[in-house]
């Protein structure tokens, strides 16, 4: 069987779910005839028509709001944010309307908001963002952020089938850089379950999205150069978060490094740290440490972007410090 890129895996997930369920439809800017800014939805409108693959005005709040209304009536809309940076334009709709609908009004809101996220691509401050932390604080939303092609497909299918709103962040750096043979058949990855990306004994790296690959690179280097056995836990889902998997890896290695690409202050790592403190404090042999982006808007120039974002070398240095603690 042929290998599929991360982007192709997402497209396959969309095709399969639209084939399977006539209630699934896509809404977004330039997603129809043009196939989307990154061509994720290419071929979708030709296959399913303009009624199910809808080119919208440049209106993120209306895209999300209309998706909510359609979802109330039994459809399962998938919204594309052309870049996930623009999800902030729909922040009110998502946090005030969508996230509360089931709780306050018993209105189901089965919908997905997906879009290209993340940096390492010279996109500058408004085409590189990782907005997951802004939504982690909102009860009523679910958040997934896959690192592999297989998980991208399987989690998208799970997100579309979920009865609540799922924010599906796709890392654009990974779109065409990674590929793998996808599992055959109806491949669905459950939301809320982490994936052990690499087993280890000495130290755990808890991460998600593009930095999973940097953590794996770092783990190889640490094994080669330091003889350290590093475990890498790919969270895949941030809301709900897999506490069991987090506690299991803490109990196993007793040293934890949390890595994410988003800025450090108020980032997801803080929440993970608090959970470890709550659930596994006595299993720690060292303080929980974070490797994340510096607290600045992401700059454009390669020299600046590379300095601000976490790199493999940063993970290696932090892991050595932690291992020696």
């Amino acid at each position: 069987m042929a290998e599929s890129t991360y982007l192709e895996a997402i497209r396959q997930g969309l095709f399969e779910e639209m084939e399977r369920d006539p209630n699934v439809l896509c809404l977004g800017e330039d997603i129809g005839a043009y196939g989307g800014a990154f061509k994720v939805t290419e071929g979708l409108q030709a296959r399913f028509g303009e009624r199910r693959v809808i080119d919208t005005p440049l209106s993120e709040a209306a895209i999300v709001g209309a998706a909510a209304g359609a979802a109330h009536m039994g459809l399962r809309p998938v919204c594309e944010m052309q870049f996930i940076d623009f999800i902030s334009c729909a922040y009110d709709m998502l946090t005030n309307y969508v996230a509360t609908a089931r709780y306050r009004a018993f209105l189901p809101c089965p919908m997905v908001v997906r879009g290209p996220s993340g940096g390492y691509v010279r996109g500058g401050p408004f085409h590189s963002q990782n907005p997951e932390a802004a939504f982690l604080h909102t009860p009523g939303l679910k958040i997934v952020y896959p690192a592999t092609a297989s998980d991208a497909k399987g989690l998208l299918k799970a997100a579309i089938r979920d009865d609540d709103c799922v924010l599906f962040f796709e890392h654009k750096y990974l779109y065409r850089r990674i590929k793998e043979e996808l599992p055959p058949g109806d491949h669905v990855v459950p939301i809320g379950k982490a994936r052990l990306a690499r087993e280890g004994r000495d130290l755990s790296i808890i991460t998600y999205a593009a930095t999973v690959w940097k953590a794996l690179e770092a783990a190889e280097q640490l094994e080669r150069e330091d003889g350290l056995s590093v475990e890498v836990l790919d969270l895949r889902s941030l809301l709900p978060m897999d506490d069991e998997a987090i506690v299991a890896t803490v109990k196993k290695t007793n040293r934890v490094l949390i890595v994410h690409e988003d800025t450090v202050t108020g980032g997801v790592a803080g929440e993970i740290t608090a959970r470890i403190n709550d659930l596994a404090f006595e299993w720690l042999d060292a303080p929980v440490k974070r490797v994340a982006a510096h607290d600045v808007p992401l700059p454009y120039a390669p020299q600046l972007e590379d300095f601000v974002l976490p790199q493999t070398g940063d993970i290696v240095r932090a892991a050595r410090w932690l291992a020696a603690y």
Binding site: L25, R51, R52, I54, T56, P57, S59, A61, A62, I63, V64, G65, A66, A67, A68, G69, A70, A71, H72, M73, G74, L75, P77, D92, M93, N96, Y97, T100, R102, Y103, R104, A105, F106, L107, P108, P139, G140, K142, D162, D163, D164, R201, P240, K251, K252, N254, D278, L279, A280, E282, W283, L284, D285
Partner: protein, 366 residues
């Protein structure tokens, strides 16, 4: 602002005598139910704010009456559209339980006042962020269009909400998609304390329709039949697949934004003028008795029915239980069904268990 008192010809052929009396019933029910809520508010039995629609009953009732409930039409009300919800089938008991935060209220004590909905009866609960229901109703009506259902949606905004981005995005989206949607702008003169002259440089909100490529019409919102007619035309147009209409209804908010508001910003005499010269219930009684041959006794019977219904609903609502505190944690998601109580909350043993000292001391053999 000027008092609008031009009234259209009495009854359109479409409305028969029973329907005309039904309009009166809903207007009276709206007004009397709110008066009962004021009493309960003063007794501190309404635990939150109270929002009145005094003087606006005609525009809420007349516009909602233009929808076809048998076809599954859906509306999304605004805070001053209690009348619209009653027309769609919301009951006084539900409204009273909502305001009194009862456990058997439509939202089980989660939301306030008339913020609740029922997709079966055809009304969708609003949120406080004004304008947000326009994109949502664009999506509701988009689903009608996609499924080729001959259903229509109606969404209310006030003069204030037309200044929001959500209003603009939603009405534009619906216009482009030719959704079967009617957008009602209730121009009641004020958004909280802000007069319309500080809300827009347009002379009329209906003029905004031009920018969206849709028809904009304006009617006297204190004339219940005129309100019905203008909305009915827009509803029929939507049902024919001709898209969105913006309907501006001219009315006046005689009470403050909410019950606490002393309306210090209103020019002297303005409220009194609307009350004495342009009360929608008084105007309608005049039409019914002078042009429709309805007797005062008939109206009194309807008034008595309204009072009896509200009395009975009040008794039931007062006897309703408060919500169970743990219900606060249920139903954020379909799955999981509830979020656990936090560990320090008294009497919630299971959560505390998780935080008891772990076995072993954090080594590899632990």
């Amino acid at each position: 602002m000027a008092v609008t008192s031009a009234s259209k010809p009495a009854a359109p052929p479409a409305l028969n005598r029973d329907q005309l009396l039904e309009l009166y019933y809903y207007m009276r029910l709206t007004r009397s139910l709110e008066e009962r809520l004021v009493n309960l508010y003063r007794q501190t039995k309404v635990v939150g704010g109270l929002f009145r629609s005094l003087g606006q009953e005609a525009d809420a009732v007349g516009s909602a009456y233009a929808l076809d409930r048998s076809r599954g039409d859906v509306l999304s009300p605004l805070i001053r559209n209690l009348g619209s919800m009653l027309v769609q089938g919301a009951t006084p008991l539900e409204i009273l339980r909502q305001y009194m935060a009862k456990g058997d209220s439509p939202t089980r004590g989660r939301e306030l006042n008339i913020h609740f909905g029922d997709t079966v009866r055809g009304f969708i609960g609003q949120i406080s962020h004004l304008g947000d229901m326009v994109p949502v109703m664009a999506g509701v009506t988009l689903s009608f269009k996609l499924r080729r259902e001959e259903r229509v949606g109606l969404v209310y905004v006030g003069d204030g909400a037309t200044s929001t981005g959500a209003f603009h995005e939603g009405i534009n989206f619906a216009a482009v998609q030719r959704c079967p949607l009617v957008v009602i702008v209730e121009n009641n003169g004020y958004a909280y304390s802000t007069p319309t002259t500080k809300q827009t440089a347009c002379t009329s909100f209906k003029d905004k329709a031009v920018g969206y490529g849709i028809p904009g019409v304006r009617a006297d919102g204190n004339d219940v039949v005129a309100t019905y007619q203008v909305t009915k035309e827009a509803v029929d147009r939507a049902r024919r697949g001709e898209g969105v209409t913006l309907v501006e209804l001219m009315t006046y908010r005689r009470k403050g934004h909410a019950e606490h508001d002393n309306q210090s910003y209103v020019p002297p005499g303005e409220i009194q003028r609307w009350s004495s010269e342009n009360d929608p219930v008084d105007r309608y009684i005049k039409i019914l008795t002078e042009s429709e041959g309805v007797s005062a006794a008939e109206l009194q019977r309807l008034d008595a029915r309204v009072v009896a219904e509200i009395d009975q609903a009040t008794d039931q609502a007062e006897a309703s239980p408060a919500p169970e505190p743990l219900d606060a944690l249920a139903g954020i998601y379909a799955d999981p069904p509830a979020t656990p109580a936090l560990w320090y909350r008294e009497g919630v043993r299971s959560a505390v268990d998780q935080h008891e000292r772990a076995q072993g001391w954090g080594t590899h053999d632990g």
